[in-house]
């Protein structure tokens, strides 16, 4: 199956990036591709075999779905691998780089076009970047 990759540099320490990535209270704040959507609830049991369910919904109530799957690999501040309900696999890797953290997501494509999927995942990753880089 063809793999798609999206990546992004977050100008924040890796420990902080990790914490914001995995904590439900934070996930609910950043997990959206645009302002018309949000994540009103998130459950995250981060361990091998553990499940996650991010409930994603259009703010006007017109659409909603659960982004869910289970973890197959977890290395703190380094790597997360999970399998989605439909069997597709997603790898999230993080590494320290000069001035911040690089986050790379690699995933199997679905029936949508590669461009569309790349855009969607990239938009969410960008939303994460904006969220993580807000001034403290």
């Amino acid at each position: 199956m063809q793999m798609i990759t999206v990546k992004c540099t977050i100008h924040r320490p890796i420990e902080k990036v990790w914490e914001l990535w995995i904590t439900p209270e934070h996930i609910m704040n950043w997990n959206q591709a645009n302002d018309d959507w949000h994540t009103p609830s998130a459950i995250n049991d981060l361990k091998v075999g553990g499940e996650f369910v991010y409930h994603m919904a259009a703010k006007d109530g017109s659409m909603a779905f659960d982004f869910r799957g289970f973890y197959t690999e977890v290395e703190p501040c380094e790597l997360i691998v999970y399998q989605l309900e439909d069997g597709r696999e997603v790898t999230v890797s993080m590494r320290e780089i000069e001035g911040g953290t690089e986050v790379v997501e690699t995933f199997d494509r679905d029936d949508n076009s590669i461009e569309l999927q790349q855009q969607g995942w990239h938009a969410i990753l960008n939303s994460f970047k904006t969220y993580a880089e807000r001034m403290i």
Binding site: P13, K16, L20, E25, Y131, I136
Partner: protein
């Protein structure tokens, strides 16, 4: 006691007067930096503004202007409501080869709780680097001002 002062220097293609305005005029500050309700570069002036990523856990900044030397130096304290610690932020401006050198000094970061990943020095360091390298640079060197 760790020495955790943060010092960052950058040169901008802008006049000292323009950089000073970017740092002290509320309407300009909010375009690249922070958005306090009011700001005046006067010793003793107090201001606050929200920060942080999580609306459920805001970091409300409490600041008071400590020192002002027009177009040369601006210093204010930088605390967080509900958190221990007090830091001091200082901007110094120097005319430099047709541009302006900005020296940012953030002291007292080691007075913040060190078990909070939001308040560790590397987080501030990356934050200020990004603010100067991207936000202030774009603001000062773009034509949209």
């Amino acid at each position: 006691m760790k020495n955790e002062d943060l010092i960052i220097e950058r040169v901008f293609d802008a006049s000292v007067a323009d950089v000073w305005r970017a740092l002290t005029v509320k309407e300009l500050m909010k375009q690249w930096y922070i958005d306090p309700e009011e700001f005046r570069p006067e010793v003793g002036f107090k201001f606050q503004f929200p920060g942080g990523s999580d609306p459920e856990r805001p970091y409300n900044h409490l600041c008071e202007v400590l020192e002002v030397v027009h177009e040369q130096k601006l210093s204010y304290d930088w605390r967080y409501e509900g958190y221990e610690g007090r830091s001091v932020l200082t901007f110094e401006l120097f005319a430099d080869e047709g541009g302006t050198r900005v020296k940012l000094t953030h002291t007292g970061l080691d007075t913040f709780p060190d078990d909070n990943p939001d308040l560790v020095i590397t987080n501030f360091e990356m934050g200020w680097n990004q603010l100067l390298d991207t936000s202030l640079k774009n603001f000062l060197e773009s034509d949209q001002r």
